[in-house]
Amino acid sequence: MRYKNTLKGTRGQQEMVGLAIIMVMVAVILLVFLGFSLNNSDKDIVENYEVSSFIQSLLQYNTQCHSDRQYLEVKDLIFSCSNQQNCENSIDSCELLNNTMSEIIDSSWNVNEDSPIQGYEFFIYSNGEALINLEKGNTTQNYKGSVQDYTTGGNTIEIMFKAFF
């Protein structure tokens, strides 16, 4: 009788251990599933379209450089600078281009320690030669960038912008 009771007790214990193992296994599977689901965030601080739209909009900005009864767009000012032509209102085209680019980028991309944007690089090349080279902040492994090039009057202009985050 005592032997029978001990046997019963052992079987009961085995069942309990079995249930506990199943519960632990299910809990582990749920935790793994939860972990995978929570890690699936693919949102970026800067989107690709933002960088390419920025360059596009930047090129259409009307500067203070007066020529042919119009204020030149950045796109045309780059050519003036590349060809070393000054504006009709006696403004140095390259100096204006450098200042305008620097001001526009600083107004558009807030680079500081508290900001998600860590730094930027901006280059303008004319026939492979650097016309403008602006850099600020830190360069990191995460960045979004865009390149635009166009040709007029034999000059090939390449504009490159990278935002680091």
Partner: protein
């Protein structure tokens, strides 16, 4: 005695079955609630993607685009004069874009304070509240860079003036 033991066994099994059922029911509830949250998140993500798509094509839509109004054909350009006219007739556009808000902010040249654009302050202002959905709760905003172009006048001569701005589209969190 045998009957009693049998009843005990049946009770034990019933109790065990109820425990297992409750355990799996709890797991089921957990999964369902998790899936429901996932569904809401998916709906918000979908809304975000739609807003992004709208954002990239909004500047090219007839209501916003510069079209042939300016000297050079422009892309990613918003005609501010057109926007001011649109703002006055915005009631026709309720629920047209499927978003909560559409706002345009001038970035460069910078103006120190925030000045809302209306018939009196335009063009010396930097914020245009183009559209706001009636009764909309606060949501999330996505933005994109655009050229903000208008006709300007100097010494009686009209010329194109394009500045840099951001178009901000707000959408609802599901």
């Amino acid at each position: 005695m045998k009957n009693q033991r049998g009843q005990m066994k049946i009770q034990q099994m019933a109790f065990m079955l109820i425990t297992v059922f409750i355990f799996f029911a709890l797991i089921g509830l957990f999964i369902i609630s998790f899936k429901m949250t996932g569904l809401r998140e998916q709906a918000t993500n979908l809304q975000e993607k739609n807003t992004m798509l709208l954002l990239t094509k909004l500047a090219e839509s007839p209501e916003f685009s510069c079209g042939e109004s300016f000297r050079n054909t422009k892309t990613n350009c918003v005609d501010l004069d057109k926007i001011m006219a649109l703002k006055n007739n915005i009631n026709i556009y309720q629920n047209f874009w499927g978003v909560n808000t559409i706002e345009i902010r001038k970035i460069y040249p910078e103006i120190e304070e925030e000045i809302l654009c209306n018939a009196q302050s335009y063009p010396n202002c930097n914020i245009i509240e183009v559209y706001s959905k009636e009764g909309a709760e606060e949501g999330i905003g996505l933005s994109n860079f655009v050229s903000l172009c208008r006709k300007n006048e100097e010494n009686g001569i009209s010329y194109d003036k394009c500045e840099l701005g951001r178009i901000i589209v707000g959408y609802e969190i599901k």
